[in-house]
């Protein structure tokens, strides 16, 4: 019995006197497609930071496949299979797209610590990078520095960086935020093609996207889980309708 791919058990986080997460319970099975919604400031990104190990919880535990990882540092959790994207693009701006991806791929293949140039490792890294570039239609941008790219393309690189780690659990923090309408399709197409074994937690404001993508939706309000269920249950939940969906419909 290994348990769920990811389990958040009663996690709380306090910043001074502010509770940004309150006794949050969340569980992702292998291959789950779960969406995390909630108004701005509900603590969605904080929850991603707690799961990925960027922040340490004030109380509660994080478990991965039956293993308590609460005390595990961020980098080790990545090695254990958690990958994430950042809501605000967080890239190696002065490096090229290719170099960005190679950093992630080399780390994933365990070749990043090698102290001398290694042709075999290089060939396999280059191959994987080329595959990622093609999949996300970034090939034309491969040799360009990230800071010179339009923001929409940078968002795609952000997603590529997380996918390059081939995680078992993928946390997507508003992957399409700031992406021009025309390019949003590339991002969600890539998300739809993710391996079925990968558990995905998606933070997204576009309710149509959420309902199309997710089999389960968690609603977070003021650091607390307000409701959880299938998209249908959530769309019929009176409090959720009042609090969140109603607002979104009027936007």
């Amino acid at each position: 019995m290994t348990g769920a791919a990811l389990e958040v058990r009663g996690v709380s986080k306090r910043f001074g006197s502010l509770d940004v997460a309150r006794n949050v319970q969340l569980s992702l099975e292998e291959g789950a497609r779960c969406a995390l919604i909630g108004p701005n400031g509900a603590g969605k990104t904080t929850l991603v930071n707690l799961i990925s190990g960027r922040l340490a919880p004030t109380a509660g535990e994080i478990w991965m496949s039956g293993r308590n990882v609460t005390a595990m540092p961020e980098a080790a959790r990545v090695k254990a299979g958690i990958g994430r994207t950042f809501q605000i693009t967080n890239l190696f701006r002065r490096l090229t797209v290719e170099e960005n991806l190679a950093l992630a791929v080399a780390e994933q293949l365990g070749a990043a610590g090698r102290l001398w140039p290694d042709r075999r490792a290089r060939a396999s890294i280059d191959g994987r990078v080329a595959g990622m570039l093609a999949m996300l239609r970034l090939t034309d941008h491969a040799g360009r520095r990230v800071e010179l790219l339009p923001y929409g393309v940078q968002r795609i690189v952000e997603l590529a960086l997380a996918l390059a780690l081939a995680p078992k659990i993928l946390l997507l923090d508003e992957p399409a935020a700031g992406v021009p309408r025309a390019d949003v399709g590339i991002i969600f197409e890539a998300i739809e093609q993710l391996p079925t074994s990968m558990a995905v937690l998606l933070i997204e404001h576009d309710i149509d996207v959420v309902f199309r993508f997710a089999t389960r939706v968690v609603v977070l309000v003021a650091g607390e889980v307000l409701a959880e269920g299938s998209p249908r249950e959530i769309s019929e939940h009176p409090q959720v309708r009042a609090l969140y969906l109603g607002d979104a419909r009027h936007e």
């Binding site: 960027r54 980098a75 190696f92 610590g113 090698r114 102290l115 890294i125």
Partner: protein, 315 residues
């Protein structure tokens, strides 16, 4: 890539050709080779990891003292002394790295300064072994590889220093071209993101720190052996600063920065000290300012920009 390979070859050819080009300045050549090695080792930290430190003289000095003491008390064999110097500095790098690398920026600079001061004070206090303020005397190196005695012309000393530098450069080159080197660049560019890629950032930086310290220690050992003397100012804040200036002058993180910066600095220092002994530091300062404003990436970047312009005009 092809340009890089050609320039790498040029560097090595330059080291080999120096005795033919300047047969009367082999002493100076050896001194330059040692400083290039030291600045190159610092480049690993400053240019590639993005860690600014003013503590590099601690490693240089540790290597110099270790090699000097080893020569006086154990064996006068140069190559063995080189290994001892490198190992001593690596050990110091390992120990100090654990503490220093917990901090960044200003705090790191302060802690690195403290490291130099501690090592210097230790050398000063431990006079029975290090010679204290009088410096470490009584070093008499045996012939290199048992055959080539260090002569007055400085030929053997130059060949020894230049060969060591050449090997160190080959290692440095392979390191910065490796995935490890690339991951240091990633840490320099966005350390937080590297954590999210699963990079053991601390371990990578500690490894770089130890390698850098070892190379600086080898440079220090060379200096002790070639001059057969170690002065207390080999472990000084001032010398740390000079090394950093040489590197910035040449261009940090640009592979050849040390090879341009250190010789230009030494040359200017010699020239200015002769022409205007009272104000030479002022001139060095003005030169640095000019570099910072005209070629922010140092001489290497300046030369590269000129080369691009010439190439652009041709095509």
């Amino acid at each position: 890539m092809r340009t890089t390979r050609a320039l790498d070859g040029l560097v090595l050819a330059g080291l080999a050709a120096f005795p033919m080009l300047a047969p009367g300045s082999l002493d100076l050549g050896a001194r330059m080779a040692i400083l290039v090695l030291c600045a190159m080792s610092l480049d690993l930290l400053v240019g590639y990891c993005g860690l600014i430190t003013l503590g590099h003289a601690a490693f240089f000095g540790a290597g110099a003292y270790a090699a000097g003491i080893f020569a006086v008390r154990a064996s006068a064999d140069p190559v063995a002394g080189l290994v001892v110097g490198g190992a001593a500095a690596a050990l110091l790098g390992l120990l100090s790295g654990v503490v220093l690398l917990r901090s960044r920026r200003l705090t790191l600079i302060m802690l690195s300064l403290a490291t130099v001061l501690i090592v210097q004070e230790a050398a000063n206090r431990w006079g029975g072994v290090t010679g204290g303020a009088d410096g470490l005397q009584g070093i008499a190196m045996s012939p290199l590889l048992g055959r080539f005695a260090f002569d007055l012309s400085g030929r053997v000393a130059y060949v020894y220093a230049a060969t060591t530098l050449a090997f160190a450069f080959l290692m440095f080159r392979s390191l910065v071209d490796s995935r490890f080197g690339q991951s240091l660049v990633g840490i320099r560019e966005n350390e937080a993101r590297m954590h999210a890629l699963g990079t053991p950032v601390g371990a990578r930086l500690r490894t770089a720190f130890v390698i850098s310290a070892a190379l600086a220690g080898v440079a220090g050992a060379l200096q002790a052996q070639v001059t057969e003397f170690v002065a207390l100012n080999a472990v000084s804040v001032e010398f740390s600063g000079e090394i950093l200036i040489m590197l910035i002058l040449g261009g940090a993180g640009r592979r050849y920065g040390a090879f341009l910066g250190a010789p230009v600095y030494v040359f200017m220092q010699d020239y200015l000290a002769r022409e205007d002994p009272a104000n030479w530091y002022l001139w060095i300062g003005l030169m640095l300012l000019a570099i910072v404003f005209l070629a922010p990436g140092g001489l290497t970047a300046g030369v590269a920009a000129i080369a691009r312009r010439i190439r652009g005009r041709r095509s």
